[in-house]
Amino acid sequence: MATVYIDNKPFQMDPDQNLLHGCLSQGLKLPYFCWHPALGSVGACRQCAVKEFKDEHDEQGRIVMSCMTAAADGTRISIDDAEVAAFRAAIIEGLMLNHPHDCPVCDEGGECHLQDMTVMSGHDYRRYEFDKRTFRNQNLGPLVNHEMNRCIQCYRCVRYYRDYAGGRDLNAFASRDTVFFGRHEDGILENEFSGNLVEVCPTGVFTDKTLKRHYARKWDQQFAPSVCVHCALGCNTDAGERYGTLRRIVNRYNHQVNGYFLCDRGRFGYEFVNSRQRVLQPILDGQPVSAARARQHVSEKVAAGRAIGIGSPRASLEANFALRTLVSPEHFHTGMPDAEAGLVESMIAILRRGPMRTPTLREIEECDAVFILGEDITNVAPRMALSVRQAIRQQPMEIAKGLKIPLWLDHGVRDALQDARGPLFIATPYATRLDEAATAMFRGAPDDLARLGFAVAHALDPRAPSPGEFPLAGEIARALKAARKPLVIAGASCASNAVIEAAANVARAAQAKLAFIAPECNSVGAAIMGGRPLSAAFQAVREGRADTVIILENDLYRRAPAAEVDAFLNTAAHVIALDHLDTPTARKADLILPAGTFAESDGTFVSSEGRAQRFFQVFVPQNEVSASWRWLGPDCWHGLDDVLVAMSRALPCLAAVKNAAPSAAFRVAGAKIPRSPHRESGRTAALVNIDVSEPAPPSDPDSPLSFSMEGTPEQPPGALIPFFWAPGWNSIQAVNTYQKEVGGPLRGGDAGIRIIEPAPAGGQAYFSAIPAAFEPREGEWLLVPIHQIFGSDELSLAAPGIAELAAEPHVAVGSGAFADGEKVEVTCARDTFRIPVRIRPELPPGVAGLSAGLPPLTGVRLPEWGKIARSK
């Protein structure tokens, strides 16, 4: 550590960091704009000026930018020096020359870094008397709003969008005091992480367009810590509500998981919660009924003794457990198709045996050679793609280290690195967004991808079985071997156990980390909980062993071909469905129960990383919507903790889950944690004990959070942070004050608990089931899923912004057979779909891609052989 004297007081700082980082980490108030912990220093805004002194006798000093100055041992600076304080105030004044001062109508108002920094710097009186420059704003699509007149030219947006996220359609235009940040022309931002601009921008240039449609100030929203439901990575979020509608999602920093950034599906998919397709009350035989009547119906049907349950990989552990308890374990079925359940079980088994360990997203960023086998991660687990983009900078970073360029000096490092990239190999059936950053790609059918994996493993370790020669295998093996922290990524997209086993072999042979991507937000949790296969449920009804089916948060039409599901639901005498949306399955149910989404319920998901994470109810809905575990659980479960205790007893493998977050009894300084910021308008419970003029805020038996602004002013642990706020820090950049060191772990601990770790002394033998090389078939195509960030996920497709961006369902083929855009008939299993063709020349011969998860293609089990014929 270095000792840095600030206004003559000694502070311990990390010498490999800059002074701004050090000062903020010490909790000192130093305003800044262009610097960002994830983006480093460039010295553009000149806001973080301090005065540096040569030694203790130097009284003159000189103004330096703290972000551009290393925290070297013995450095002496002053923040309070009058000259430098005046300089900082004048910088704000300069930044604000053209700023419209439209805070009352600006969506950023009340959580604006520019407001916070203006107050911090002390600038309060405008002396500039001339005209301001004005810009025309651009329509950037349905997610991000653009208001350039507010811009202060800090360059954060383009640095994030281009340098960090790899976008190519946002940049700075023109020069001097008229720099315009936008696109070449109006149009949808192409990058899948564009929503982070909303948080990266220190003022209201880029704001959340979905929030704009139902705007509420931060201080008027009620928040709860949440976990994203739109893929399996488990990014931490905070969800904000007002008047019974969910208003937005913001990032909840988790050092090990999502850090500062979310993907656009995760940020903007939330609007399904407000969807008109929501089920808001129990409906029995087409008629609304009371909750009591609905419960009575469920009890009667279960009591009759011939009920079975089908769980869900997108429902919480608690909800699945409640159903399992209700119908008894032997009648509980996992909600995943058999093959998919098998894949997830296989992943878990591999990771438990070890020695490969699954990395956190943070650890992925630190890996220096990446091999992706079979996954289009940008579309399947988008946030991981952003981590991989950072990982490929690791090897080139050695150049900067060799030149002794501080790694936080962002432009200096980039000038030295130019576009050097570390090794990234991508083996997928079709081209992916990350290809542009890849060292080499391999295109093949799933079996050939697996064979490549086996070949790489063999090239790394001759003891691993070999499928024979593979041209790229040697190069990949060499890159993984040379790396300090190699990484292998695979998942369920190819629906191939061989791919998963091949990835395991590579990771083992390379002593690499192994990241598996599960299909849905709680696939891993559901697989650990276990249950009978889904096919067994179908069979039980078919064979008359069951007459009542209770389906938890699961649209079976996405799990099996329509004909099979139809037969199943038509045969069952009683169908009870719990769900958020009026799904095709729910529409077939006799009783539909309105199941709470992540915003209206509490629960736990287990992410692909094996991290159990709790989400908390954001608001109490003014209708019958309730957590599924409340609908299904026994009367003795009074709150979430009772479910967790029961689950630990029943399922010791999930005992640790209760530690994912503090229990409802947890208090900070004797008080609950407020869901609402201090200034929530018109809502106070201060006198509720002696007054009846206002309704009491709802009580929360499930968590240590209160449904009001009353509670502790202290910072809660990571799992319980509803919003980031600190005195003087109203914007989300208040997160600085929650970290032990800026950009580091949360002071109260990062949320979640890992429940999958490799066995201490272990390791598995190499897998040896190498599939035969793919053989195209005459007149048939192997249909593989093509995933889309916007569209392939069930729930987010009900969010208007996401739906607008979703691609039309289509079949993709290599060039030759069909014309682009031509309508064709795709026949697989017993279904035929009339959809357009998209030409993707990179698809291997005999392989075609089918839009994954997009109606009407939802029930197709992929990969699957099918026929494609010209439409008559």
């Binding site: 001339f130 700075a172 023109a174």
Partner: protein
């Protein structure tokens, strides 16, 4: 090359204004310097040492020791490759017209200098970064480069020595900030010409991330003469400790505006009165900017100062490019300052706040003064802005270059600024 007159840079130029052709250049002793180093067995180190010994300082205005700059380039087997030499021919400093003369009238001298410098830093590729408006220079330089390639002064295996240097001419897309050496590197990479972080410095991380030396046209043009005549000779050319000759110029209402190659350290008075012929009839001297728009004003009392890198700071100014802009009593100092701030504001790259925001503000205040709309307090606002543009407070030297003339204008011509406010008009309009 034997030098009889002490004007090595300009001596051989044709009086008719045409370019000195290859043959004429060779006949005058041209391309002997590269023969000396390439055939005479001088090592890059020796060439660098000679230039260091000669105390050649950067003629672009910063005055950095050229040989020292060259010595920062990593050498040896493990050194990054390729290494680049960039000739900064982006002459855009207002009031400066010296490099144009060297480019248009003696392009081979520049090319030979580039080869010598390239050899010294073991460069593989050299670029001449020429401002886009210098079309005559572009034409003449292109031809000279082609001739030099034909004669094997450029390209592979120069004069059979094994040393190879490619030299390309790049025409700028405009913008004053390209004259900043790192802004120039970004421009040459096809990017926006925002200056870069320093460190890393260009000799270590330069063009395309590789070691790069950026030298001014006049600097490079001096180099062949140092090799031909030795460091001691070059040092002897100067009147003061700053060595060599210097292209001095004068513009404004002087009798004979022009450009003269004189010993380094000639006094301002000598240049102004002897060479420029003093002020035009009917106008009186009030002050001057000694070396382009970004140098501080000097006034009557400073006229006997030697125009060199060391002496000028002693009177609160800088040598800059050595081409002085003279202010007379018939010209409004406030208007002149406004003109310059408009220039700096327009040419700000838009990267750092004090520059993009402060220059535009200062420009508008000065405009309002000129239009008779000035208010009490405006002078103080301008003074405050100059403090915002100190070295270190801004990202590069552009805004500090604006602070110098503005700050000294406020100092020397304060009465004029005050009268603009009190009389609500510009007395010169």
């Amino acid at each position: 090359m034997t030098v009889t007159a002490e004007k090595p840079l300009t001596r051989d130029m044709c009086p008719d204004g045409s370019a000195l052709g290859l043959l004429a250049y060779e006949q005058a002793g041209g391309y002997q310097a590269i023969r000396r180093i390439l055939k005479g067995g001088m090592t890059p180190q020796a060439v660098t040492n000679e230039v260091k010994e000669a105390n050649l300082r950067g003629r672009g205005g910063a005055g950095f020791q050229t040989g020292l700059k060259w010595s920062f380039v990593p050498r040896g087997k493990d050194a990054p490759s390729p290494t680049y030499l960039v000739v900064n021919a982006d002459e855009m400093e207002p009031g400066t017209f010296k490099d144009r003369l060297l480019l248009e009238r003696n392009p081979h001298q520049l090319i030979e200098g580039a080869i010598v410098a390239g050899f010294a830093i073991e460069a593989d590729v050299a670029y001449v970064f020429l401002r886009g408006e210098y079309s005559l220079a572009a034409e003449r330089l292109s031809r000279a480069i082609a001739e030099a390639y034909e004669r094997h002064y450029l390209g592979k295996d120069i004069l059979g020595s094994g040393y190879a240097l490619e030299l390309h001419l790049h025409l700028s897309g405009g913008r004053y900030i390209c004259g900043d050496e790192t802004g120039l590197l970004n421009a040459l990479e096809g990017k926006r010409a925002n200056p870069r972080s320093k460190p890393p410095f260009p000799p270590v991380v330069g063009l395309f991330g590789k070691p790069t030396v950026v030298n001014n046209v006049e600097t490079i043009s001096c180099v062949p003469h140092i090799i031909n005549n030795g460091a001691a000779w070059f040092r002897g050319l100067g009147r003061t400790n700053d060595a060599g000759t210097k292209l001095y110029g004068a513009s404004g209402k002087v009798k004979r505006p022009g450009l003269w190659e004189l010993p380094m350290g000639s006094t301002i008075r000598e240049i102004l009165e002897e060479h420029a012929g003093g002020m035009r009839d009917g106008v009186k001297f009030r002050g001057l900017l000694p070396g382009g728009s970004s140098t501080p004003f000097i006034v009557e009392e400073h006229l006997d100062t030697p125009m060199d890198f060391t002496s000028m700071p002693k009177v609160g100014s800088r040598l800059g490019t050595g081409t002085m802009i003279v202010l007379d009593d018939q010209t409004c100092p406030v208007g002149m300052t406004w003109n310059m701030m408009r220039f700096f504001g327009r040419e700000s790259c838009g990267f750092c706040t004090p520059c993009w925001s402060g220059l535009g503000w200062a420009e508008r205040i000065l405009q309002s003064l000129e239009e008779g709309l000035g208010k009490p307090g405006d002078i103080e606002k301008l003074e405050f802005q100059t403090k915002m543009w100190g070295p270190g407070t801004t990202f590069c030297a552009l805004a500090p270059g604006a602070a110098d003339p503005l700050g000294t204008a406020l100092k020397y011509f304060r009465d004029d600024f005050e009268r603009h406010i009190s009389e609500h008009r510009c007395a010169w309009r």
